[in-house]
Symmetry: C2
Subunit: 349 residues, 2 copies
Amino acid sequence: MPETIRRADNLSGTRYGNRPTMKDVAARAGVGLKTVSRVVNGEPGVTPETERRVQDAIEALGFRRNDSARVLRKGRTASIGLVLEDLADPFYGPLSRAVEEVARAHGALLINGSSAEDPDREQELALALCARRVDGLVIIPAGDDHRYLEPEIRAGVATVFVDRPAGRIDADCVLSDNYGGALGGVAHLIAHGHRRIGFIGDMPRIHTAAERLRGYRAAMEDAGIPVADAWTSLGVTDPERVRRAAEEMLSGPDPVTAIFAGNNRVTVTVIRVLAERNRPVALVGFDDIELADLLRPGITVVAQDAAAIGSTAADRLFRQLDGTLVAPERIQLPTRLITRGSGELPPAD
Amino acid sequence: MPETIRRADNLSGTRYGNRPTMKDVAARAGVGLKTVSRVVNGEPGVTPETERRVQDAIEALGFRRNDSARVLRKGRTASIGLVLEDLADPFYGPLSRAVEEVARAHGALLINGSSAEDPDREQELALALCARRVDGLVIIPAGDDHRYLEPEIRAGVATVFVDRPAGRIDADCVLSDNYGGALGGVAHLIAHGHRRIGFIGDMPRIHTAAERLRGYRAAMEDAGIPVADAWTSLGVTDPERVRRAAEEMLSGPDPVTAIFAGNNRVTVTVIRVLAERNRPVALVGFDDIELADLLRPGITVVAQDAAAIGSTAADRLFRQLDGTLVAPERIQLPTRLITRGSGELPPAD
DNA sequence: TAGAGCCTGGACAACGTTGTCAGATGCGGG
DNA sequence: CCCGCATCTGACAACGTTGTCCAGGCTCTA
């Protein structure tokens, strides 16, 4: 066991590698502890001469304030947590950037992590962030039960849900108008003469997926078109299964002439499938994708404004912290139909 | 001044919204403070009966350990910082995801922020993370002088630079083989018969840009092709200027027949410019771009493995913390030429 | 020149946790 | 029946910072 002992020794001996503390600075500058604190925090009541001495000592020792101690004392961390679903999804880039921008404007740091769509991991992460005493949380929920956050919210952690609503608790949330967007996108296809329209989307237990499906159904119903079972494919996310689903819709006796793709990953795979076929099939995707305008045809999409969602959410979070905000609210941001060609193809009957 | 006073009052009064502490839990469970600590940390030496009482009290009060205090006491935060250049750049998605994955495997949280290519902001961010006492830093440098990190590194903050080397300090870094990648890409164009090849890239003060330029020049020299001034355009990043640069190269008496694009943003804009022209121009881009295979022609790229870079960097960081690693090292990861069509077009002379 | 008032600086406690160490309790053996 | 040992528990200090409060020195006025 000598290794284990050495390792433990090693770790506990590290102790920030013996960083200088305010006490050290004070000793070196020949002033009191609190005076150093005042200089570090820019508080008034220090002679320029004394201040210079302290600054010099700070410089010489390479002192850096220990924020853990500061947080412990002050009770606010000036940091907020962001729990996203997948760091690598391009949709979340602009979103987290927008959140960071707002956080920065409030002098707060952003701590984030991704849940990988796993509700347990989401909970683990959110609670770990709470243990660090983040002032607030922006969560893109993976699960559908967020009662585990109740004690935290009661304790004053500002909380805003994004992209999907919170489950079983009453909390602020900022979403896109998934229903309206999907309805508009499908109606667009119908307006271009399509009647047999396929829908490929995620599991309906995911709120956005359910809403988009609802929008699809509503558009079809508004147009008086009965939806055949074979036209909708749900719970399909991985490329292989999307591919199979698309191919099934496009073959058979009554093939669809248009497809509505429920999210950007689906859209990309459907583009691939359609590219392999000669018969033109119309396509509208939910979520914009990069370079969509360079493809032939360009891809028509229902675009969400990820940056606006992020900044709205972060804004509300800080307003909760201000006390400006009282009751939780659900905010829906509009989507935008961007026509580029693929959604305007006529049915190839 | 009454407002100021009230605001301060307000803030200092908040104090985590009166969260329960271990002391509260201990009181409720009728045990000592340290016993609660033992239960929370899963230390041995607590009767199951006592443990249950404590657990019940924790549950009832909604207690959550205050990690700030824990960190203050223990000296390690189990969190690492990631300073990237732009959260929204798709190249950094997989990279930060990979870093997070490794961090998670070591039980650490990831805190990140972006520098927006601004050296001052990079420094501010890195030092803010150090003040939070992150155990280590992964930095994608924006600046070229990192001596400000010396005290931190001496104090034991593990540090790994990524994508670009550290400036004026000796530190671990993990990079792509920018020189070799560019050389290979340009050689590929030359092998397909091109001699007048343009290069559009970022400012040469950025290491990657300089290396790629060097690769371009080396490939040309190897082939015995003198490079005309008009063929290289440096320090060009925003779409408008890239567009102008590309158009200039493609017109004039001696237009280029191929373009090597120095990064993904440049590539995208060049694609747009080329799409507007009838004469086919070959294109090879550094960095892969999404959907590159769906364009006609597909875009040939020199791809970096962002995930591998991220996980290699994070790996080294934790090995520094282990003490497994001693001397700083520069690690170069190979790039991969992915041929998709655009780089194989013959010169249209 | 003495006293009032202001300005600067420092001693001390507290934040919530963990490590140390000693006390209490229970059990078995002499 | 008592002692020793093992097991479990709790008191206390310490981590580095900030807020409170007081002491001492200065200036300005009467």
